[in-house]
Symmetry: C3
Subunit: 246 residues, 3 copies
């Protein structure tokens, strides 16, 4: 199944208790008054999860091409060590209902103050009503780690920039947060990867801002904790978001 | 006038009786609760037409370049036989009022259940209030064929994938639906093309999912029914949406 | 500080008295019924300014690449003398809150009838609530010149096309409108540029549709009036929006 995960959409959800009720689409309003519509999950671990972003791999064979709004749409060059800067700015794009067919980022990404993160791995082009049942992996953190990093991914990546050469592996890697599985388990996670790739990580974590030997920065290794600094060798497998500048 | 049609925007409208009233912009809500704003036409053939998409040719000289969201923004390669997959997914983009200056696709594309299809050929950058009077061709089907294909273009292209090598010409071409003209006629349609191109089609139809000898798939040949399998030779004329992978 | 201005976002605001009240985000409706949300400034010169667009330089080293929606996302070629045509069409993109991290253009750009123009130079990625205090330059016109050009930038650039070879320098350059500074002054403006560049302009103006010796057209030279026709030599400094086709 090597590479299969790249066909999946990652839905990053932030905890937002008491904001949503049944599963489905809701209108929310930011602190500054922006109104937006997104998906809320009220069933996982007591509910309160709000979809703030999806990462969609539209081309397994293209890296840093048009449509890669989370990394770079203009290739990787030394001139742009931050790529698009999407992880730490307020640019938004896409729609909740199109989140499995396109990248998605809404104002909740920078506006919501949350405690934990949930990730769903959903096959490309799955309709919204089937996200839950069709997901291949679903898991969430329970350590309430987000407030230590500003309460959301926008603030976390302000503190831990996804920037070439902003640090070294392993000293400057961000936190590895243990996860609780809602669909699948550590075995399922490992089975998504090739035997070679499995030697490079421990399943059961979300790891943020990971460097490799080449000083490239990855925003997230979702589902795993790297055990070395060779993430570039398996970058198309368990560390989905990578930007290499060399 | 060879090639002139490529400067036109195609507005694909689905029948939606009793949903709209005067011509103009309306707010609609999908089954899952997505709210969007689009144009409705209440004058053509009794009305009830809702704009769900426009196809905008932003560069006559560029094929499969940035902005070609209906085909491929990353060129044509064997790695991506479906291109962007736009015809059969829930990704949306653009706005109704910008539909003659940019590609447009709204949630109605996959949400509305319709009976017939209408197409308007409108010159680039025409303001919304002049779409009707400035259109070069307007026509619609009356056979109520859409329910046989799922009720909308999203479902139709799920059944008839716009994918390289998904079938052969002419055996696997989709249906050619006869049209009724609201502006122009079969002569107007033919006159849009060069004498050579005219030998390759019969005007008076919308034809869906057309293959050519090279196994490339076109989503629509709007206004015509191909009579052969050389659509690649006139692809910039009467078959606007083409994706070649070879 | 050569080149520093290129990192800034330009917020073009049109005068709209009595439409907005405190500074912040508002819902507005166009003549045709489009509803959109944008920022209004009620403090500058009596207020009434509505944000209609921002120009964001996402790559100092890339020209006419993906993300350059105001010029061309497909490079500069003789085939496309108008580039994307964004200055004179109704295509919209981006969000008000993301305007310092992405290009932004809303329906107010073509719908609002205004009298004057204000421009804010704000560093990239500045949050909305800090736009005012973090701006490096803020200035506005007071001559009520816009009605002479149709009342907004859309109409102005219909009359003064930003098109290669549509005119010659200096005979066909558009108007240079004097500005009043709200943050900074003519010295601050000049200090943004290199000594060599300073010889090419007089600060204290917004100049529209400027040609150079090579017949390239720039939409705006914001903050300055060119004194010659060598704007291409300093194009990355005081004339931000340039499109070269040769």
């Amino acid at each position: 199944m090597l590479g299969r995960i790249l066909l999946l959409t990652v839905l990053a959800l932030l905890s937002l208790p008491n904001e949503c009720y049944p599963d489905g689409l809701y209108f929310l309003t930011t602190a500054s008054g922006v109104v937006y519509q997104t998906y809320c999950d009220m069933t996982t671990a007591g509910g309160g999860w709000t979809l703030v972003a999806s990462v969609h791999e539209n081309n397994l064979y293209g890296k840093c091409t048009v449509g890669d709004r989370w990394s770079s749409e203009q290739g990787s060059t030394p001139d742009r060590p931050d790529g698009e800067g999407t992880w730490a700015n307020t640019r938004t794009f896409g729609t909740a209902e199109g989140a499995t067919s396109d990248d998605f980022k809404n104002p909740g990404y920078y506006d919501i103050v949350g405690e934990d993160v949930s990730v769903w791995h959903v096959p490309n082009d799955t309709p919204l009503k089937h996200w839950n049942c069709k997901s291949i992996l679903r898991y969430h953190t329970e350590t309430k780690f987000l407030p230590n990093y500003g309460g959301n991914l926008y603030q976390l990546f302000k503190r831990l920039p996804v920037r070439f050469n902003a640090g070294a592996c392993p000293a400057n890697n961000g936190p590895s947060i243990p996860i609780v599985y809602d669909e699948g388990d550590t075995g399922t996670t490992s089975n998504l990867y090739s035997p070679n790739a499995r030697a490079e990580f421990t399943p059961g974590f979300i790891t943020f801002r990971v460097f490799n030997h080449e000083k490239a920065a990855m925003a997230m290794c979702s589902g795993v904790k790297p055990t070395g600094c060779n993430t570039e060798h398996v970058r198309m497998t368990y560390c989905m978001i990578i930007r290499i500048v060399q």
